[in-house]
Structures are given as structure tokens and as C-alpha cells.
Symmetry: C2
Subunit: 241 residues, 2 copies
DNA sequence: GAGTGGTCTAGACCACGGT
DNA sequence: CCGTGGTCTAGACCACTCC
């Protein structure tokens, strides 16, 4: 059942095991084993079991009712994975569309005051500035201009961006993870440049999205302004808690 | 320091205490007391201390580094509270604006297939339908049409909505909490009716937002379509994890 | 090796929901 | 009353970082 000699923590093993149990064998709103039953069944302490159940609760698989028990959430099957991510690449893959990104500009620039302020660095500090077009099944969907601070991503190059998504470069090559991202939305009209890049009619309606991403130390690691096509691409967001 | 006879759990008391410590006395990125120091200082077990620190980490106040210690997050002061909520009322209060809501329509209706499907009930089931205008400092900002299922909110009346925000009615009168909300955004043009209600020019640009709210059992408790003024009202969203 | 956070145990008592 | 989840203790050992 669980392998006490594995390097994988017991509670993680239990999470996987219970997710399987829930999605394979249990009905929504059915009662799960009680915590103490799970302890006995898998020979684990209650602390470990509660750690695992807490994770499952955060993931939305179960809910608890004090005095009554633990229950399987409704509709977790359908809504599972649907949009936990704030990555264009992941999002498109979940929609079964082939994501593609074209980097149309990449340069190292000193920052003017406005953007230096939002990135939380001094005016004139260096940053990478890039322009990218995002495609879904070869249809252009968004145009993005991003700034990321040089001091956190030294010797980032355009070649690295060809190989894998930006957030994978962040994580794998620079050990930077997005912990929090704030976004602001506005309706707008595309500029001529934008409508050409996105192959749409002039003056097309669009969403303008500004994103600030922070690592877990709350340092901003990315500032991006996106223009999203309005009709073909639905922008979704999930709030939790 | 902490009151062991209080009905408030020790870890909650510790959370409050440490938030205070962090926001009053500690610099961003400074090292906090180690877990074992906190145990000793407040005479608590390590489990309890770790529970509290876990909460603080989720709230974004601190981050941990295995083997090094626990540190205060950057910029938590500025960004504190700024937009943890998905309630118009709370959001406006945080911006120091006076929120007001006018209910312009309220009725009990049988649901047609389309909306019955999104609410997860049978066609023809009853729901409350309401139209509301949201004001900030007496300036109209949004127009919303909401559907909420009758079986979860029996004998809801317009009078209840006069007294307090919808989500407080949900929580206090029906013990329903929003655990997850999914939103979809689109740029759009206001209809004549909408531009009149929001006192703006005809054909004004606007954001159209569709929201589905779920309780912790993952049952949808609200379906709302909003039209938001584009210029005076910035729509913000925060992603976590 | 010393100090840190990460995982885990085997208990205990409390508060809540039902009988 | 019993069974449930919620809180809490006093330990133990591991994995990581730094010196």
C-alpha cells in the first residue's frame, strides 16, 4: 500500500493513493473512511493522515464536516485540472490545443522610471524585454510584451526561450517559481501593429491584461502586458478560498 | 503571550501574534526566530508552531528555506489585503470607496435549459434571478444579473439583500460559503439598457464577466454575468501558488 | 558538527453531530 | 452515548545549508 522505505514522503504517497480511490471508486458526496480508519488501514499516524487529507481538501477533492466526517466533493471529475495554472502553455494543453510561442523581439534594456518602479528596481537597472506572439493550433491568440529583471536571470538568451516555455526556464534554469500573480483587465481596441501581428481586422475589440508575477519571497520576477483576441480566446480565472 | 485557556486555538493566537511582529518590527527578508525558538518562547509544541507558520506561508507573510530558516516576505506591507477577496463590497472598502448596491429586479423564475445546466439543476427548477447595480462612491460601476438556486436559498427575499451584502446573506443566513469561483472575461460594447443604467455614453467599451461560484462541496451556488465600466473601474485578480 | 526546516509517531483531550 | 474531525503534546529521525 504505502512504502515506508521510499524517499517519497508517506503523506504524498497517501495523497496519490486517495486521489486514485476517489476518482476511481467513490461517488460525489459519499462519505470517505474516517481518519482513524485510514490510520489503521495503512498503518500511519493520525498526523500523517491529516496532512494528506489537508492537501486533498486544498486540491478540492474532499470537504470535511466537523463531527460528521469527510466527503468527496461534487463534480471534481469534470472540473479537475481545468485551469489551475496561469501559464498559457499549460492552459492550451488542457484545452487540447497545440500551444506555440514566437519570440519576435528580445533585448536587454535599461529600465525607465515607470517600469523600474513596478519591477521594484532602480531606474536604469537592466532588464530583458521580449515580445512574443502566442498561438493555439497555429492561430495567433495573444501578443505579449514582458520585462524580467536581469539580476535574477543573468545571461538569459533567446535560444533558451526557443526550447521550452518561459516558466520552465524560470524554474529549471534559475530556480524561480511564480508563487503569486496579480492581473488587471481592461477592454480595449487593438493598435494597428497589434491587429497585424494577430492577423485580425483593424480596430478589433481585445482584452488588455497586465500581469505582475512574484516569487515566494514576494519579489516581482515578471511584468507583462498582454493583448488578447476577444472572440477566439476566452480568458478564464479561478479564485480559491 | 498566548492564553492556553482561551477558546481561540493556540495556533490562531500565534498567527495573530506573529503577523503583528512581522508587520511592526521585522524587515522584509530578515530571518525570523527558528521554529524551536518559537516553541520555547511561547511554550508550545513544534506541531502547533508549524501549523501557525504554515498559515503565515499561505497568507504570503513568510517563506521557508529548508536548512536555512524562515524569512519575512518582501513587500507584504504594501500588498497586504489588497485584493484577496472576490466580493465587490470588500474590494471597494479596501480601496476606501463606499460601496453601494441597488437591487433593480428580483424574482423567482423557472430555469430554461441553458442556465439550468450551468447551475447543475433540472430544467424548470426554480431559481432567484436578480439584477443589481454596483456603485462606488455613488458612481455606477457594474451591472449584474445573477441566478441562485432556490433549493439552497429557500425564501430569500429582496429585503434581506437590502440589509447586507449577498455573500453575507449566503454565509450568515444559509451557511453557504464561496470556496471557489471561476470567471471568464471578454471585451464588449454596452447595450443601450446597460449604458443607461451605468450612466455612460452609448456603445461604451466594457468588460463582460461571467462568474460561477461553488461552495466547498463543489455545488454551484451562484451564476452571475456582469458588465463593468472600463475606465473608472479596474478589474483585478490574484492567482496563488 | 550544529542548526534549520521536513516528516513522522503514539498518544491525549476537546467540540460537534447524531443516537 | 459514540464516532467524527479539531487541537495539542513531547518527543524522534531525516535532509538540507553553512562553517
Amino acid at each position: 500500500m504505502v512504502d515506508k522505505n521510499s524517499s517519497v514522503p508517506l503523506y504524498s504517497q497517501l495523497v496519490d493513493l486517495l486521489i486514485n480511490e476517489i476518482t476511481e471508486n467513490l461517488e460525489p458526496n459519499s462519505k470517505m473512511m474516517s481518519e482513524r480508519e485510514i490510520c489503521e488501514r495503512y498503518d500511519l499516524s493520525r498526523t500523517t493522515v491529516r496532512l494528506a487529507l489537508g492537501e486533498l481538501e486544498n486540491l478540492g477533492y474532499i470537504y470535511k464536516q466537523h463531527g460528521k466526517g469527510t466527503f468527496v466533493s461534487e463534480g471534481i471529475r469534470d472540473r479537475k485540472n481545468l485551469l489551475e495554472s496561469y501559464s498559457f502553455t499549460d492552459y492550451m494543453r488542457q484545452l487540447n490545443k497545440e500551444p506555440k510561442t514566437m519570440v519576435v523581439a528580445f533585448e536587454e534594456v535599461p529600465l525607465y522610471r515607470h517600469i523600474a518602479q513596478v519591477l521594484g528596481v532602480r531606474e536604469g537597472e537592466l532588464a530583458y524585454r521580449m515580445e512574443r506572439i502566442r498561438y493555439a493550433d497555429d492561430v495567433p491568440m495573444m501578443f505579449e510584451v514582458s520585462y524580467i529583471p536581469e539580476y535574477l536571470f543573468k545571461s538569459l538568451s533567446i535560444e533558451m526561450l526557443y526550447k521550452k516555455p518561459l516558466y520552465e526556464v524560470f524554474r529549471e534554469d534559475y530556480r524561480q517559481d511564480v508563487a503569486v500573480a496579480d492581473e488587471e483587465f481592461a477592454a480595449s481596441i487593438m493598435t494597428d501593429k497589434e491587429s497585424k501581428l494577430l492577423e485580425t481586422m483593424t480596430d478589433a475589440l481585445c482584452l488588455r491584461i497586465q500581469r505582475k508575477s512574484y516569487n515566494k519571497q514576494n519579489i516581482m520576477i515578471e511584468y507583462t502586458v498582454s493583448v488578447a483576441k476577444n472572440d477566439e480566446f476566452v480568458y478564464r480565472v479561478r479564485h480559491s478560498r
